[in-house]
Symmetry: C2
């Protein structure tokens, strides 16, 4: 069962930014990320979930070192796009469980989330695909999260 | 440049579900996905973005064949968790641009989104990591999206 998990990783050098309430129509994401690319900002993870009304939030992670530059660019772009505003948080950590064919094992997501819940860790963002499950947690919880996940998936029982 | 893109893929056999307004505290995601695992439901992609107030939305994709079973399970779980409700959409398609080290190329996300914008395609959900950029679009736009992305990234110019 757990043989499909290849690694459990922690990234503490990351910060999250969200452009809130962008109009949900073609071309908006293109303009936002073209603006960021023009500043040479590499984006590590992008999340846009279901829309509410005719607006949507676009959240992403960048290297902590780029946070000032990214906030400035996003505030500009938010005004140009008619968004509601920009939020950010530098006190986060990203934990990832990486493996092959994760999505074809129904119990893996619930095991990942239950391990974090068992440690009282709140999950601030989730991005899961067939190759990895990534959770953003508080930077205070990063170490405890990666140790608990490593114990669950990487150590022989 | 485009040598890092390995594939462009289209999945039309997928449906999206969202449990809206779940309490944003430890253990909620664990209970939701434990409930789905108990029903043997494999989840293909999970997205939880930044929270608003003390609540959050958890959206995910399942195989279209599992949609009835998933809606029933989610309505039950939504009541148990004190969520606001459940929405779903079966008329979607998922297009993915897969490659290595995508997140270290600042211009790739903006190219993907600009190609779709150029075809007038609205992007309903986005999930991007270092290995892939996935966009959920209307099922009416799936073919046009994958052809335009294939032309941009896979064909010799
Ligand atoms: C919100 C944003 O993603 C918009 N739907 C777009 O297509 O650009
Ligand atoms: C919303 C949900 O993800 C919650 N924050 C949890 O940790 O379970």
């Amino acid at each position: 069962k757990s043989v499909i998990i290849k690694a459990v990783a922690l990234d503490k050098e990351t910060a999250k930014i969200a452009v809130l309430g962008v109009p949900d129509r073609p071309g908006i994401a293109a303009r936002l990320f073209s603006g960021l690319a023009a500043e040479g900002i590499c984006v590590e993870m992008i999340l846009q979930s279901v829309m509410r009304g005719q607006i949507n939030d676009i959240a992403f992670l960048v290297d902590k070192r780029d946070i000032e530059k990214t906030i400035t660019a996003c505030r500009d772009l938010s005004r140009q796009l008619g968004a509601q505003g920009v939020t950010f948080d530098t006190e986060i950590a990203r934990v990832s469980v990486v493996g092959a064919g994760i999505s074809s094992h129904a119990e893996i997501p619930s095991r990942v989330f239950s391990i974090l819940a068992g440690k009282g860790i709140n999950i601030e963002m989730i991005s899961a695909s067939s190759m990895a499950i990534t959770c953003v947690v508080s930077s205070l919880d990063g170490e405890a999260a990666v140790h608990a996940l490593h114990h669950e998936f990487m150590e022989d029982k």
